[in-house]
């Protein structure tokens, strides 16, 4: 195994690993730390996974687990998977379709970028216990059951947290300033 070969491997997968990490953690600095840890683990097993077609899947799984470990280690575990509800009920109830439709039909390209930025910001502002299952469901395409098993929580809690996360996104998008 050569360092050049491994460098090519990192170049190939760095965006994927970083994207998973930054979505799950909501923080680019932590995501970079986690990505570094993941690639160091990949280097330690590079003989086995370097040329394997399963390398991407292996990296996805290791990144996911590393992010969850990071969250549980550096933040309060009770907070991460707690039932604590935000006071979403107070936010204005502008329909999500309306917000999205306006960005689609009336907005210029710049406004569309703004809308995207708002959505990204809203995602990173979600509490961990909502953002993590939401990302696992929508980006990692995991089922509710798999998410519940991975996080060690009940199926009902996963569904509730994901739904609350979606509702929060809708409200952030409807009125980003009021939600801060």
């Amino acid at each position: 195994m050569s360092h050049a070969e491994f460098e090519a491997f990192v170049r190939r997968f760095q965006d994927m690993v970083f994207a998973i990490a930054v979505r799950l953690l909501g923080n680019p600095v932590d995501a970079e730390d986690v990505a570094q840890t993941v690639f160091l683990r990949a280097f330690q097993r590079f003989d086995a996974i370097g040329r394997s077609p399963a390398a991407a899947g292996w990296l996805r799984t290791v990144t996911r687990n590393a992010c969850l470990n990071h969250l549980s280690r550096y933040r309060n575990r009770l907070h991460l998977f707690s039932e604590l509800a935000r006071t979403d009920e107070d936010a204005p109830a502008i329909p999500y379709e309306a917000a999205m439709a306006s960005s689609e039909s009336q907005a210029t390209a710049i406004e569309s970028d703004e809308q995207r930025q708002q959505l990204q910001e809203a995602m990173s502002r979600l509490p961990d216990h909502q953002r993590v299952p939401l990302v696992l469901f929508h980006y990692e395409e995991m089922s509710y059951q798999d998410i519940a098993a991975l996080l060690g929580v009940s199926l009902g809690k996963v569904k509730t947290d994901i739904h609350r996360g979606r509702e929060s996104l809708r409200k952030y998008l409807a009125d980003p300033d009021a939600s801060r």
Partner: protein, 150 residues
Amino acid sequence: MPRVDLEQLVHEELRRLPSPIAPRTLLPRVMAAVQAWAARPWYARAWFTWPIGLQVLSMAALAGILVGAVVIAPGAEQTVRAAIAARASGISMAVTSAARQMEGGVTAARALWRVLGEPLVPYAFAVVALMALACVTFGTALNRVAFGRT
């Protein structure tokens, strides 16, 4: 809005977001970490990657420790038992004089306690109670302010 509609809308909008791109600093960081890991000293690596001489030496040391434990332990036990038996005969004489000395010591300690210790007991309890109360108050405040627990 029905759950299914909201799910589909959020899914579509999230999937349309541009994928985050790794910062330029990531690759140099990873390569530096990899080089540091590859350059770590032999004793920080897995045993089977040690130089062959050190592997042999460590095996010999381990075998020495095991043999030593097996051979020396019974002999040491016998020696200790013999030493205890020799001491036991002299102990009965020593016990009587030690008991007398201890009695004198206890009497002196009691007198000192009555004069110096007893008057301070209520104050000591008050200090301990106040410290416990302060700890509870601080802990509660920390929980609420720092961790947001109620």
